[in-house]
Symmetry: C2
Subunit: 288 residues, 2 copies
């Protein structure tokens, strides 16, 4: 089954790495993709690359793009996302569907669904895909391949809307489509994504280690790949999910301190037990 009828118009709001990757994928699938971004260069680049059909970087010309959209994909910073919807929703086509890519959910989903016109449905989603470099010029439809895609509905959503949103994930080529509540999503993301980014950053900043580049093996490179980070976006995501992330950081800090104490005490069996547990658990992540 097709996600939407080919030729329908999908408006990308926010044409960075993620918005650009949606644009590439959806244009490739035969949809009419348009985009709005505050940066004229991002729009010019996407037009030149042929990954959008039309675009706007100014308030004057964006109105028509919003009116024409059958579906809207929001790839904005979470801090400006609800305001954008509030300001522009009078232009939305009746029956339009909206989704997003935002990395935190509780703080945006309820607020937007509360203020949204009743004839438009917003079904939140989080494609677990990305790149270390930001910007439309680094976008790539391949980032969705086999990625996990999470639909994050609330009780305001319809079965049809949830199906539509999962269908977009499938159309993009994502590997597994799952469903979580906003709260479940934010707890999960605090652990698997935000905590890991905090760790990677702290590994790079805890001492000046750049002279070690020539000695590192793959393990250090793997652990710090995500230490190349969009500081504006991630600090915003961390703050918007502060309580859940603090909880996960504290659990991890306690565990690592405990391991340190075992090492200090020469508790070989204690360390080996932790390692056996970690080996066993990690093996589950390789089964698909």
């Amino acid at each position: 089954m097709e996600w939407m009828e080919k030729g329908q118009t999908v408006l990308i709001v926010g044409l960075g790495l993620m918005g650009g990757s949606y644009a590439r994928a959806l244009t490739g699938l035969g949809y009419r993709v348009t985009a709005i971004d505050r940066d004229p260069e991002a729009i010019a680049y996407a037009l030149a690359e042929g990954i959008i059909r039309d675009g706007s970087a100014s308030e004057e010309t964006e109105e028509q793009l919003v009116r024409e959209a059958d579906a809207l994909v929001f790839a904005l910073y979470p801090g400006i996302f609800p305001e954008w919807v509030e300001k522009h929703q009078h232009l939305f086509k009746a029956g339009a569907k909206m989704t997003d890519v935002t990395g935190v959910k509780s703080c945006v989903v309820y607020r937007i669904q509360e203020l949204l016109r009743p004839d438009v449905e917003f079904i939140a989603a989080h494609p677990m895909a990305g790149r270390e470099r930001s910007g439309v010029e680094n976008s790539d439809a391949g980032i969705f391949r086999d990625a996990n895609y999470i639909v994050v509905p609330t009780e305001k959503n319809t079965a049809g809307g949830i199906q539509w949103c999962g269908g977009l994930g499938k159309a993009l080529g994502c590997g597994r489509i799952t469903v979580l509540s906003p709260e479940e999503h934010d707890d999960m993301i605090a652990f698997v994504s935000q905590l890991t980014h905090c760790i990677a950053v702290s590994l790079m900043t805890c001492s000046d280690n750049t002279h070690l580049a020539e000695y590192t093996g793959d393990s250090f490179r793997d652990l710090t790949r995500i230490a190349r980070i969009n500081d504006r976006m991630w600090s915003e995501l961390f703050l918007l999910n502060r309580e859940a992330l603090l909880k996960q950081m504290d659990i991890f800090l306690e565990e690592l301190k405990g391991f340190r104490e075992m090492l200090a005490a020469g508790d070989t069996e204690g360390m080996r037990e932790k390692m056996r547990l970690s080996t066993e658990r990690r093996a589950m992540f390789d089964k698909r």
Copy 2:
């Protein structure tokens, strides 16, 4: 220049993942490779695969293999390595050269060089390569490709011996050959390898997260790949480098706690500054 004359005999002592990978690479290069291991199945496997010419799993038959060896590569657990040398060195060929793959250096290199016969030279090395799975059946000559290879000489080593040891790294296909003192090596390894393994293990053990497997993105998988760990070997390596590792763990714990405090206090600019520093430093690791 060739590492050694083709057809000379290299004895691998300890035929696990690393020993097996050396055997595959050196057999492929035209050397006569033999091996000693306590496990008859490891020897039988390597003979059947054609990656060694001869092998022994018993004290009776190993004597001849030791006598014949022009070079010896030790891939033993560090705890038994010096004892093995002490017990067998009367069999070594005069003028033979020895190297190893041990992940910690200060605790083994000085001790072995102290007890070693004066007509045999031991030049320590650490190929920064590996796999998550142990055992000769997972060995692969490809693990050396582009890997960093560290020669770890002391003042007891000769210029010729150091060159010979680096030549082995080149022959294996390693990407960059560098030289560090045992103390420099152990400090470096505490940070880039041991600390990262402690972090990966603690991430897996700090809570039961296996139900999250279906939601993870690449970042979590990357950070925990090395959480599949040989518990016997790594606990031994950690204890043998305890002081250096405790120091690095404390530095990292302080840094992560500091980041946690910034988040708790809502210090956006502080977090962004850390992220910018980490981004800048991490970029250095991608330049080669």
